[in-house]
């Protein structure tokens, strides 16, 4: 075909250059962790608790106008952000405090009535309030679900392959998660429930990619008994490279469409997934497979399939 990138099975030396990739990933992971520790994450209201109101005004107004309107009634910090660079769509985020129970509902109605008094036809497009107990539970649920996902993948790969494969896959997974969370820390993008969902998808996708390569390695281990492990791993990666690239390409294309045309609400979600899928593809080729060199995979005791 005219556009076919890889006509024959390529022969790129991925495994031979493993030290370079490990070093790169190692540095990136350390940078990510340092950022997570020092800068932290920009948690959304799902995890921090708080109030979010998306408003649409019938005429253009300035941020300052809303700010002065709200300053008197909101007791804590709040931020106002313009959406789609318009002067009529705004996102108001308010930090709420748990000390006064029930007052947050009062705050919501006060904000609304104050805006309604000043402007006609205010459209409250979205309102989200997450109370302090719920946000704590959501953090817990988020952390648990990621840990459970990693555990489930470990067990599944162990069950379908051998333990070294499972360990290799999990190392790659943790790498993907660290780099994704690190990216959120560095870019200050909002980290919320949807981000956790994206991380879970990334775990699933990265495993998906890794499994296809591993499947090929398992097969080649039976087929070629003479060649060295390094060559065998390299051969397997190269044989599946065309498939890996094509699948990643179609998935990224689909996600790009969401990112560009899907609207504000899923923009960050799509971005997290695009990033994670790129990282996941990278890691299944350049981390999950080369790491097997160190994990002592057995050649002769292959399971019958």
């Amino acid at each position: 075909m005219l556009f076919r990138f890889i006509k024959k099975t390529p022969n790129l030396n991925f495994i031979g250059n493993r030290k370079f990739f490990f070093l790169t990933s190692g540095i990136l992971s350390i940078v990510s962790i340092i950022f997570m520790i020092i800068k932290g994450l920009n948690f959304g209201i799902d995890f921090k608790g708080g109030l979010l109101i998306e408003t649409s005004f019938s005429k253009n107004i300035e941020i300052v106008q809303i700010r002065t309107k709200l300053r008197g009634i909101v007791p804590g910090d709040f931020s106002i952000q313009s959406l789609d660079n318009s002067k009529s769509n705004y996102l108001i985020k308010v930090e709420t405090y748990s000390s006064v129970k029930g007052n947050n509902q009062k705050l919501i109605s006060e904000i609304k009535s104050n805006l309604n008094k000043e402007y006609t036809d205010v459209d409250y497009r979205r309102l989200e309030y997450v109370g302090p107990t719920v946000s704590k539970e959501l953090i817990k649920a988020g952390i648990y679900s990621i840990l459970i996902a990693i555990g489930a993948m470990l067990i599944y790969i162990w069950f379908r392959f051998e333990l070294p494969f499972a360990i290799g896959a999990v190392i790659a997974l943790i790498h993907d998660i660290v780099l994704t969370v690190g990216m959120f820390s560095i870019s200050s993008l909002e980290f919320n429930l949807a981000t956790v969902a994206a991380i879970l998808l990334i775990i699933g996708y990265s495993m998906n990619d890794t499994v296809v390569v591993y499947d090929r390695i398992r097969e080649n281990l039976k087929k070629y008994r003479k060649i060295s492990i390094i060559l065998l791993l390299n051969k397997s990666v190269n044989e599946t490279l065309s498939r890996t690239i094509n699948t990643t390409a179609t998935t990224i294309l689909a996600l790009l469409a969401l990112f560009i045309f899907g609207g504000n609400i899923i923009k960050d979600f799509s971005f997290a997934m695009i990033w994670g899928i790129l990282i996941g593809t990278y890691s299944s080729i350049l981390i999950a497979t080369p790491v097997l060199v160190f994990l002592n995979i057995k050649r002769n005791e292959n399971k019958e399939d």
Binding site: G131, S145, V212, S242, L258
Partner: protein, 514 residues
């Protein structure tokens, strides 16, 4: 090739069946599409159709506290009734503590534990601690939740929204979903009120010293709901709001909004008693620890019909009537989480979601064609059927489609071709090894199947975990992602195979170029 023909027919039947569900659901509101037989539509999540989701926290501790406070009084009465001597009795946190001056009187008094089967009595030096026993707490909690659920349902039904979902979630929470609700504020204010009403006498004797003293024996200070006045009100309840049978909003002779109420027989008797014995005195109508009004009793009211006048507007009078009709909540509730999407954002999201889905579809189809040429015809046809399956399953299972759910469909579009790619690449390799056409297709499929299955199971695991972790929109994502995995596997193993067989085995003149 008879076998293939039967398979082909069955597959065709399934495809047509899915189309019958999927197409009307997809184009239901389209002008060009005629409305034919009872078309089922996709159920849209609150983020797409607009509406409110509220997570209500039932403060069961508050109800238990109140209950224990009542028990404290009961125990005190019982002790006094039996002339058991004790030093002091009070409620501290979740315990009733009775103190004694000597062991002897403690042992005598301990016998009253038989009169309170729901409490557990424990000796502790010169003290008796009484607290609710575990079993009772559990029963009480669940009955409290069920009662709360019933009353919340009544209140929401009174306001009238379409198809509300109200369910108990966990130990202390009630999830309320109100699709298509335009003004959540009204329902929120209705749900937030306990609506515990009672009629109590004003403690006229102590009214003069209201500013000097803070505590009164048998009375308490209660503020007016709207005015800057306070009253000293007797703790003893004259008539409780539980004895109401009906309440409705109406107007008095001056056209001011009022709430008319009617008591049941016990309530009527008590009310008649209260009003006949206290003519000329004031009684207060207390709602959720605020005085609504404190009128002077002009004459005895024996009928059991009464009117509440206060600083009402027509709307607040109507709301109060609704609350009184639905009954009071057994425990206060608060809003722990709220997610409301207005109808305009919902419409925008549907538009943005479908546009991006179409574009994702188009991009993937074109990419496949550019990379694989004619063979992409198979992958692309399978992809289209795959998505139709997915949509028809959503309709059949009455699953909820959310905006992240649309993202899940787009992801399925992106990831689904993978299975076909794996098969194509595999068949190509088998051919390069010198196998025959039929044999390379057979081996290609069986070799690729293992990888396809293993790879898809990992995505499925992620989807299942997401399903249990997430609620609302995120759950919608896990549903389309999970269903997408199933339909991808089925489509690849059945339809791809059929198509490849059809094009390359049946039509002998074609070469298998992959």
């Amino acid at each position: 090739m008879k076998k293939i023909n039967t398979k082909f027919l069955v597959t065709l039947f399934i495809i047509v069946f899915s189309l019958l569900y999927a197409i009307p659901a997809l184009f239901q509101n389209h002008k060009l599409f005629p409305k034919y037989f009872d078309a089922k539509s996709i159920r849209l999540g609150l983020d797409l159709q607009g509406g409110s989701q509220l997570l209500l926290q039932v403060e069961t501790e508050a109800a238990l506290n109140e209950k224990l406070q009542n028990f404290t009084e009961d125990i005190r009465n019982k002790l006094e009734e039996n002339k058991f001597s004790f030093e002091n009795i009070s409620k501290v946190d979740n315990k009733v503590i009775i103190s004694f001056t000597n062991k002897n009187s403690l042992e005598k008094a301990f016998k009253i534990n038989k009169d309170f089967p729901t409490l557990e009595f424990k000796r502790d030096d010169l003290l008796i601690n009484a607290s609710f026993n575990e079993e009772y707490l559990k029963d009480y909690n669940s009955s409290l939740m069920i009662q709360s659920l019933e009353i919340i349902r009544k209140r929401i039904d009174e306001v009238g929204t379409n198809e509300p979902i109200i369910q108990i979630q966990g130990n202390q929470r009630i999830l309320v979903q109100l699709p298509g609700l335009k003004d959540p504020d009204r329902i929120k204010s209705l749900l937030g009120k306990t609506a515990k009403m009672n009629f109590r006498l004003v403690d006229e004797k102590n009214m003069q010293s209201i500013n000097e003293k803070k505590y009164f024996v048998g009375s308490e200070i209660i503020e007016h709901a709207d005015m800057q006045v306070s009253y000293v009100i007797k703790k003893r309840v004259g008539v409780s709001g539980d004895n109401l049978v009906d309440a409705s909003a109406s107007v008095d002779q001056f056209n001011r909004p009022i709430v008319s109420i009617r008591f049941d027989s016990i309530g009527s008797r008590k009310f008649a008693d209260l009003t006949s014995k206290n003519v000329g005195k004031r009684f207060a109508i207390v709602l959720d620890n605020k005085v609504i009004s404190a009128p002077v009793i002009q004459e005895p009211i024996p009928t059991g019909n009464a009117q509440i006048s206060g600083n009402f507007t027509f709307e607040t009078a109507n709301d109060l009537a609704i609350l009184l009709r639905a009954g009071s909540l057994p425990a206060p509730i608060s809003i722990a989480e709220e997610r409301t999407v207005g109808p305009s954002l919902g419409k925008d999201s549907i538009k943005a979601g479908s546009v991006s889905l179409m574009i994702a579809f188009g991009l993937v189809l074109v990419y496949m064609f550019l990379i694989y040429g004619k063979v992409a015809f198979i992958a692309n046809s399978v992809l289209i059927i795959n998505i139709l399956f997915l949509v028809s399953w959503l309709v059949l299972l009455e699953a909820t489609l959310t905006l992240p759910g649309i993202a899940g469909i787009a992801l399925t579009v992106g990831m689904a071709v993978d299975a076909n790619v794996l098969i194509f690449e595999r068949i190509r390799e088998e051919q390069l090894l010198g196998r025959s056409k039929i044999s390379s297709i057979e081996t290609g499929f069986s070799q690729a199947f293992r990888a396809i299955l293993d790879a898809n199971v990992t995505t499925l695991i992620a989807a299942v975990i997401l399903f249990f972790m997430g609620s609302g929109p995120i759950r919608g994502f896990s549903i389309t992602l999970g269903l997408g995995v199933f339909s991808t596997i089925i489509c690849t193993m059945v339809i791809s195979r059929l198509l490849i067989n059809y094009f390359y085995i049946q039509n002998r003149e074609r070469n298998l170029k992959l």
